[in-house]
């Protein structure tokens, strides 16, 4: 399964005040709050964790069909990091989701998958031939094979990302 989340940093500055009293406590675990406060760039770390949670939630929602606002139950950890890409994990109950986040100048984009190997199979596609089921979960119609494939759509500000798993 697949999930993704893109954040337009400029848009987030217009929409959200992450320094607002109580904001961090509602969405981040004490450990995440500590990591944010110690990070060289707390703002980017806030949105990095948020996009990891959102991307992982899209798989959780597809798996469980549960619609819930559970930011603190989606627990983020960082596995490795280089210049602009971050490999991480999000735990939710017994589920583990593997994430890869690309940090660019004005955007943060996280991919989430069930198994680490799948990260290399993620493919960006156009937003077409996509239908949603009664739970609002999107699928890509493949008319050649007459099958439905998991797809994840994220849109924020100037950015839109549509991703699927290329399993051939």
């Amino acid at each position: 399964m697949i999930g993704n989340d893109v954040i337009d940093i400029i848009q987030s500055r217009h929409e959200s005040n992450w320094q607002r009293k109580g904001f961090m406590q509602k969405i981040f675990t004490p450990n995440e709050q500590l990591m944010i406060s110690k990070a060289p760039d707390p703002e980017i770390t806030v949105w990095l964790f948020w996009s990891m949670k959102e991307a992982a939630y899209k798989i959780y929602n597809r798996q469980t069909k549960r619609r819930e606002f559970i930011p603190k139950k989606l627990v983020c950890s960082i596995v490795s990091q280089d210049d602009n890409s971050i490999i991480g994990k999000v735990n939710c109950d017994q589920n583990v989701y593997h994430t890869k986040t690309i940090l660019l100048h004005e955007s943060i984009h996280t991919l989430a998958v069930n198994s680490l190997d799948d990260l290399k199979n993620v493919m960006e596609i156009e937003n077409k031939n996509i239908i949603k089921d009664s739970n609002g979960i999107p699928y890509l119609c493949n008319f050649l094979s007459n099958t439905l494939q998991d797809v994840s759509i994220s849109h924020h500000g100037r950015f839109q990302k549509v991703v699927t798993l290329d399993l051939k």
Partner: protein, 84 residues
Amino acid sequence: MKKEELIAQLKVIIKPYTTNTEAFDNLTEDTDFINDLSINSANLVDIVLDIEETFNIIIEDTDMQRMLDVKTAVEIIETKLSEK
């Protein structure tokens, strides 16, 4: 507090976070914050915080978890107010 009054106060809270004015103008108990009002999920936190401040109540995580539509929000606020 009457339910209509409560919904009216809730509308004032929600307004700055919605981009869908038509759905906002036609808001009912069945209106969904994300699907109908196109509210960004990070702004759901702001709505929860604004509700806490406006009604002087505390919304637990287990309540926030369900707070995705007007009906549930009203129900949670009513319960919290009655416990005061």
